[in-house]
Amino acid sequence: MEDFLYFFSFQDPNVLMVVIGISLLSISAAMVGTFTFLDKKALVGDAISHAVLPGVCLAFMFSGNKNPYWIVSGAFFTGALSTYVISWVARYTKLKEDTVIASVLSIFFGVGIVLMTQLQQTGNASLSGLDHFIFGNAISIVREDLWVYGALATCIIVVLLVFYKEFKVMVFNRSFAESIGLPVKRLDFVFNSLMVLAVVTGIQAIGVVLMAALLITPAAAAKFWTDRLSRLLFLAVLFSLISGISGAYISFSLPHMPTGPWVVVVLSIIAFLSFFFSTKKGILTRWVSRRKYQSKIHRDHILKALYQAEEHDKKGLPQKDIVDNFPGKVVKTHRTLRQLKKKGYITNDRELVALTSTGNSEAKRIVRLHRLWELYMTEYMNIAPDHVHESAEKFEHIITPELERQLDKSLNFPKEDPHQSIIPRDQNKP
């Protein structure tokens, strides 16, 4: 707790610096990642993040220290080289693009590991901390690093905002973008550079291996919550910030703990929560709407049973009969009856359940939809009258008022269904 307060009160300028650094890089990674994700280039992002490792090692070999300018240049060089190699090989060979990407990824990363092993064997004292570039350590960021990485991240954010609408139209519909005269090739080049830069800004804090996750996962999680690009960007940035700062905090409070893996753990939690609880496509939402649909079916069936009783000139049905009608659903039936009474659809006096006038008109509607659909199937789809009941049992619950009007119109407001039962309508409404 003390740690927590110390960290988040930002009284330590070093902590503040780390937080600013990781925030900038989280924002830029999430923004670039959103477009990468939508353009289905997640694999390329992964390849780049592995391909910067040999560059980092080479920079080390040449400069002999962890000078951020060298590191960034080296990383940018091999990262950019990898995208170039990927598009070149994919263009001039018949290999599938994903094969090419996977090969380039492993070759570059393999070379990187070899170089790193080599470097570590030389035992250079200033090399301690080189392995930070694999899994990242946000706490090792010093002022000079912040200037370099922060400036890069800011550049990325500005360029993306400037070209927002151009990238938007290019990702959605490239040929259209080209047809209105956008320089798509140059924009491609800009975007690929941004992608490499976004990875490069994260190599020290997050590490090369896990930068790909910070690019793609925020956008993938955000996609569960919205289907507008501006909101998608905003949410992706938010998710990325939360996980970036949490990762930095964990590295701070548990010394020697790498940052990257913790950032990814937090990101994964956010992604899982989105998957389960999102209001749009989440598992839970789907489960809830399924449950709602099932209770509606049950309610509709009870109303129908009561309506049919009325058609046979009964005042209503004993509660016991209704419950017996739905074996295995005793509790559910009781609950539904209570709800119907509360809504004013039924009265439930002395064990006799009867429809109120609102209930009667609602029941009529369901029966009407059932019979209209039966008639539609026999008239328009040439299905025999004895084959239509099953389907109508399902559709009576989902036909909307709009569709009902359409059915009524195309059947010319019929009076009877294929089994000569009357299609019930409210008197006051046509």
Partner: protein, 262 residues
């Protein structure tokens, strides 16, 4: 039957296009009158889309050129609009119908400028013209195929162009919408605009278009509908690929290089 005219709005001169080693358009040479509704007919794989793409500079021609309004494409981009085939994009993109139509205003805006109120009004008007105003806020993946097609056409209208190339705008569109769209295109041509439409139903083509282009890797016909819609030309267009062209294409494919490219 290839009829050339004076002062054409579109002029294609000896255009030849290949994809890699595979030649798909051979020496297409045609000219189209301004203010007409033009249909491009031909079987699948005839090169209809490729012809439009080549004119729009989206694929590179091996030889030949095309001119619009007697000028290079780059000089007249603001007057030209292109509607790609609907399947060429991923409709799961996070955007509303209105967002997509707004894209039609981008090239007038230029860099850095964001679309504002004026652009939004224009986009809504265009959605209204294709009867999609009520769907402006709808996520595009939730639209039916025909509605997506109409969003694309609305985007083209928002470009306020003089010349329109539309690749299969009627694919997945129901009959009454197709009629309404043709009506809309008629109004546009009456105002002097030129609308060029890839279409695949020869029966309705006779009724819809002033001018027809028939294509099957090479140009079979280009002329006023009444003159080119003949049994003989239709057989030439739809009666299978010309075997010599196909054989020649095979030889080029096997040769390992493309002699048509310079």
């Amino acid at each position: 039957m290839i009829q050339h005219i004076e002062n054409p709005v579109v002029e294609v001169h000896d255009l030849m296009v290949s994809y890699g080693q595979n030649p798909v358009l051979w020496n297409v040479d045609l000219s189209l009158p301004a203010g007409s509704l033009v249909g491009i007919l031909g079987p699948n794989g005839a090169g209809k889309s490729t012809l439009i793409k080549a004119i729009m500079g989206l694929v590179e021609a091996n030889s030949g050129y095309s001119k619009l309004f007697d000028q290079e494409l780059n000089q007249v981009r603001n007057k030209v609009s292109y509607v790609p085939q609907r399947e060429s994009v991923d409709w799961d993109f996070p955007a509303s119908a209105l967002d997509i139509v707004m894209m039609g205003t981008y090239h007038h805006l230029g860099l850095l400028k964001r679309p504002g109120k004026k652009e939004k009004e224009l986009a809504m008007d265009c959605l209204d013209k294709v009867n999609m105003k009520n769907f402006a806020g709808r996520q595009i993946s939730e639209l039916s195929g025909g509605q997506q097609q109409r969003v694309f056409i609305a985007r083209a209208l928002a470009q306020q162009a003089e010349l329109y190339f539309m690749d299969e705008p009627f694919a997945g569109v129901d009959m009454s919408t197709e009629k309404a769209l043709i009506e809309l295109f008629r109004e546009m041509t009456a105002e002097g605009k030129t609308v060029i439409v890839v279409h695949h139903d020869i029966y309705s083509a006779g009724k819809y278009f002033d001018w027809l282009i028939m294509l099957n890797m090479h140009l079979v016909a280009s002329g006023p509908t009444a003159e080119v819609l003949t049994e003989e030309l239709l057989t030439k267009t739809y009666g299978g690929k010309l075997s010599t062209l196909a054989d020649l294409g095979e030889i080029i494919k096997k040769s390992g290089f493309n002699p048509l490219k310079d």
